[in-house]
Symmetry: C2
Subunit: 279 residues, 2 copies
Amino acid sequence: MKIVFNLRELRRERSALSGTLGLVPTMGCLHIGHLSLVQAAREQNDYVAVSVYVNPLQFGMGEDLDDYPRDPDGDLEKLESEGVDLVWMPEKTEIYPDGYQTYVTVEQLSSRLEGERRPGHMRGVTTVVTKLLIAFTPDRVYLGEKDAQQIHVIQRLVADLQFAVEVVVCPTVRDLDGLALSSRNAKLNPDQRNAATVLYRALTAARSAFMDGERSGSRLRAVMTEIVAAEPLAEPLYVSVADIETLQELKRLPEKSLCSLAVRIGKVALIDNVVLEIT
Amino acid sequence: MKIVFNLRELRRERSALSGTLGLVPTMGCLHIGHLSLVQAAREQNDYVAVSVYVNPLQFGMGEDLDDYPRDPDGDLEKLESEGVDLVWMPEKTEIYPDGYQTYVTVEQLSSRLEGERRPGHMRGVTTVVTKLLIAFTPDRVYLGEKDAQQIHVIQRLVADLQFAVEVVVCPTVRDLDGLALSSRNAKLNPDQRNAATVLYRALTAARSAFMDGERSGSRLRAVMTEIVAAEPLAEPLYVSVADIETLQELKRLPEKSLCSLAVRIGKVALIDNVVLEIT
């Protein structure tokens, strides 16, 4: 496994790879969710690359950039054992040099949900992903379903800028009690960790109601709101039942919708989602 | 010479080229200025590609998108005789498909001069250039010095997004009377064509004053303003003596500055510039 730090080394190592390349972009502190992306990339490509970079541009003022969990040594050990070929761990200045002023925005899709809750967040994501796609020129890029809006935005980005890359979406990996794996879960104390199951409980309640025939967006949102409200350690940030293409809130649900929410527990904001689909 | 229309064909032809590629992005209606870029690209690369695309995104409301001169047959003839290898003439929908919503902005540098005069113009330029660099993956891209701000903005774009491409700047090609070649010159009637020399007259007067020791930005701008005012067919849009890096207007001139202006003659807006440099 080659580990590179600056872009020059990355380009040299990249150009030495002839064959298909799968890229897994991460912010490090890797868990089984990330490793499932690496495994999918390993199966589908000749080479697998991983970027480990806590992108400051996607964190707003007062967000948890400085607190974001980091574990570079642990990350490298895990990636080595998964048979990764190339890891890029850039310094901040490597990605955003002095005088940096170029931004990539996906307009409408970035304005809702996480984009609305975190101004500038989606612009940070789309800018860094553009830079990673230019730097790695991968054949496939692997993203986790947990970050549903991010997936939509990046799919639009890839289509609009016409990158020759396939976006591969992998299912959310959950703990036994349903909590979606997230590097931020490490910041929860045992009581908070317990309370965090409220996200999946709210989503499964909405899914049950949908399966039972409920097609009203506002009633499905109310189902989730009520469950979050019953959890004293949880502060609701938003609940959403949205069009799967435009991410606009729905009055009546069509065949396929995105049901998502964000909740703050202690200092940690957690997100999760399920797709509601008539099967 | 291969002529391609859609992106799929472009990618196929591009991937068949092994060796260095020089790209000359154009809006067509090619003149000797464009061909000088092609010739520079021909000398410095194994292959030369040219894009011909009147990019709607860089035209504002009420600007001359529909009137912009077009001559695809003439363009192909000229490019063929210059030994170009690959020409992409995309349809509008090929570049901006349905639902398009991704934009690339270079913030500070885009806010002045042409960017201030034409809101959204620079965003249109940087977005389409990003797409061209992704589509062609050239080793070098060739730009004419006439569009001075555009060059600065694209150099910043390339540095910030870290495209592995060298930006090659070629000198402005002028008619015998100093008028910078531009596809828009074809829209001038003989009187207007005559009046259009006012841009170069203003720039050379500013340069003479600079060579004679004038270092006051406001006095140099006044020199140009006066000359433009004396030309009845010319409507001044702006005159500028700006920092060569930041494009901010200067009070006192350092060793090297950008002296530029824009003038409307009839319905046609023309721009030109010279670099003021202590030699």
